[in-house]
């Protein structure tokens, strides 16, 4: 049996709410990335409309804020599915068949990396190393890591997650 994580409830984006949640970083030196994480944790992504506000808050140009946001793999620009599934692509997982596992997961979900399933339940991403290299291959669903993953185990996990996502709607 595997742990079935609870779906995250993201708030709907509003500039007012966004401005509110990042105020705590205003006087912290160099805290733009903290603010971007906060926005993403709150809304599920970093909305374009928040950029000028962040620029003003940190006394930066909009280009600088855009540059930082687009540099880091973590920050997404549109709302993800209910769950974000990240599949490790690094060497230790490859040694345990992650290439084949990745294919199976893509098949199972019917999407490629950076895509969201039609029912909005899963967004698929790749990740390089989850630090679980002795129990490879590994995947991560939101903030929960799963080791010794197989195509069959993923199938049953995905089914449980789907059921939970639907149940909570």
């Amino acid at each position: 049996m595997m742990q079935v994580v609870n779906p995250v409830r993201y708030q709907d984006f509003s500039l007012e709410r966004a401005t509110q949640v990042v105020q705590e970083f205003k006087d912290q030196p160099g805290a733009l990335i903290n603010a971007l994480h906060k926005l993403q944790d709150t809304f599920g992504y970093v909305d374009e409309a928040a950029m000028p506000m962040l620029a003003k808050l940190f006394n930066l140009s909009r280009a600088e804020v855009h540059g930082v946001t687009s540099f880091y793999h973590d920050f997404r620009r549109s709302k993800p599915g209910t769950y974000t599934v990240r599949v490790c692509q690094a060497e230790a997982c490859q040694a345990m068949g992650s290439v084949e596992l990745t294919e199976a997961i893509k098949q199972q979900l019917g999407v490629d990396f950076h895509e969201t399933t039609a029912d909005g339940t899963f967004t698929l991403e790749r990740v390089y190393c989850l630090g679980n290299c002795a129990c490879a291959p590994s995947i991560m669903v939101d903030k929960q890591t799963y080791g010794r993953m197989t195509a069959d185990r993923f199938k049953s996990l995905a089914e449980s997650l789907s059921a939970k996502a639907k149940g909570s709607n």
Binding site: G30, L32, E91, N132, C135, A136
Partner: protein, 512 residues
């Protein structure tokens, strides 16, 4: 009396169902009218035994593992709370050869104590190093670290004491201690394990560093792939603050040291120290030119110690037992112990802390038990994605910085990834280039463009119609790798050729 039951709160254990066990144990004990207290320790590092459940019995601490949810009723039936025999019984886990043959200095407490408890930390020797440090002049603290021979465990292996000395001698109104916890190398997890299992040792180490060089503020730059680690660190920092070990008056000394955890955002390059500093300042994680050294102009332009988690978490034991004691372990210029991490296709994977000098074979065969699949070992990558691939014929190389360099590899952060004989090394070489292309910061051309050209060239080698064509492409690849190696700004572009060229050297037959 309540019986103490240990269930690790740790990423690997959690990835195999440990959180489910916590609920099930609690429910089952209640149902049977038994009084238990669940203690959240870290992992002892034997990942193959996770989730490892231990019970404090009258005869001592006994282990059961790996425990699955369905084993719980069975374990209660076997009276595991009193050490009863069960299919999963391990007895005193410290007596298992896997543990008994290790030399644990940095990881001495990891997996044994409740991870974030100041009280248990102190009961196991914690804060003795800080106490000793506070009784010394700052220069004497640095001297102790110099005497230990400790070299940066992040991978570059630069002597930690010399870095500290440079920062200590710099004049500035503000200095910083930065902990590099952006453990991005595949096959490495020792940083995560110590932060989850004994976070106070890192906090103590950073505090000692602060006192030694005159820094009052520390940052831990933690990768975002470690959310559980973040929770545990924050909890440990709060506990240390409450107990007076962090803040304006560290352990009553009148000296100030505070800590902040900042999260990375999924960029491998931010493990490079100057790129990490840029990221900490809220910028794109692009590598800086050196000089100036971060030790003189680091975070926000101030003198900064940037050390890896393991380097800093090793400082307390050095100050507790003395630099000379630490230097008694290891050999040559590789002194002390190294927490090696065994991953990939390995039967008994996990963390093995051992003095430098054992061979790769001893690590993989004696500790690791060979491959998980039971097939022969064909290739081993040591030192992360920028480390060399070794063939089975090099397994007798001693694990030591200089010996590894001599054999054309690098020890790096001590990660060891094992592959069986089904691996295709041309595919792995291509992946190294692919990874570099995906993770390059883009500042220098050899890395940014070279990685993509490298991918294309390897594709052409594999697709070549005849030997002549293939050899011509091999010459291009070699030339490209040389350019990347000498002309890249940092180790990302500079070392990507290492796995690529080692794969070509030892496994050329795969490139067709």
């Amino acid at each position: 009396m309540s019986i103490r039951v240990y269930v690790p709160r740790e990423t690997t254990a959690s990835s195999l169902g440990a959180e489910l066990l916590v609920d099930a144990l609690t429910t089952e004990a209640k149902y049977r009218g038994l009084d238990i207290t669940i203690v959240r320790n870290g992992s002892r590092g034997a990942c193959f035994l996770e989730p490892l459940v231990e019970v404090e019995t009258a005869q001592g601490r006994v282990g059961y593992g790996p425990v699955q949810l369905e084993d719980i009723p069975d374990l209660f039936d076997a009276d595991f709370l009193n050490g009863g025999q069960h299919r999963l019984s391990l007895g005193d886990v410290e007596k298992l050869p896997w543990f008994a043959n290790q030399e644990r200095l940095t990881f001495a407490r990891c997996g044994i104590i409740a991870a974030t408890s100041v009280e248990e930390y102190k009961a196991h020797g914690g804060f003795k190093g800080l106490e000793n440090a506070l009784a010394k002049e700052p220069a004497a603290i640095v001297q102790e670290v110099l005497d230990s021979g400790l070299r940066g465990r992040g991978g570059a292996a630069f002597p930690t004491g010399i870095k500290w000395q440079t920062v200590a001698n710099a004049e500035a109104d503000q200095k910083y201690i930065v902990c590099n916890a952006d453990e991005g190398d595949s096959g490495t997890f020792s940083d995560r394990m110590i932060m989850e299992g004994d976070p106070l040792s890192l906090i103590e180490g950073m505090t000692i560093a602060g006192i030694a060089v005159g820094a009052t503020k520390g940052y831990i730059y933690l990768r975002s792939e470690y959310p559980l680690t973040q929770q545990i660190l924050l909890e440990a920092i709060a506990n240390a603050e409450a107990a007076g070990y962090l803040g304006n008056n560290v352990a009553g000394s009148g000296k100030a040291f505070t800590l902040e955890v900042r999260m990375g955002a999924g960029a491998y390059i931010c493990g490079e120290e100057t790129s990490l500093l840029e990221s900490l300042e809220g910028k794109r994680g692009q590598v800086r030119y050196k000089p100036p050294l971060p030790a003189l102009k680091g975070l926000f332009g101030k003198p900064t110690v940037v050390n890896n988690v393991i380097s800093l978490a090793t400082v307390p034991v050095i100050l507790e037992k003395g630099g000379k004691h630490y230097a008694n372990f290891g050999r040559g210029r590789s002194l002390g112990t190294m927490p090696f991490q065994l991953g990939g296709n390995i039967k008994f994977g996990g963390l093995v802390e051992k003095a430098f000098g054992l061979t790769l074979r001893q690590l993989i065969e004696d500790f690791g038990g060979g491959t998980y699949t039971g097939r022969p070992v064909r290739a081993v990558q040591v030192g992360g994605p920028l480390g060399a691939y070794f063939p089975a014929s090099l397994l007798d190389t001693p694990l030591d910085y200089e010996e590894f360099a001599k054999a054309g590899g690098m020890l790096g952060h001590g990660g060891v990834v094992v592959f069986d004989d089904t691996v295709n090394m041309a595919r792995m070489a291509r992946f190294s280039m692919e990874f570099c292309a995906a993770e390059s910061c883009g500042k220098c051309t050899p890395c940014r463009i070279g990685s993509t050209r490298g991918m294309e060239t390897i594709d052409r080698i594999v697709a070549a119609k005849n030997e002549e064509e293939r050899e011509a492409q091999h010459i291009i690849l070699k030339d490209l790798c040389e350019t990347m190696e000498v002309a890249s700004l940092c180790a990302m572009g500079g070392l990507t050729p290492m796995p690529v060229m080692s794969a070509v050297k030892h496994f050329k037959g795969d490139f067709q």
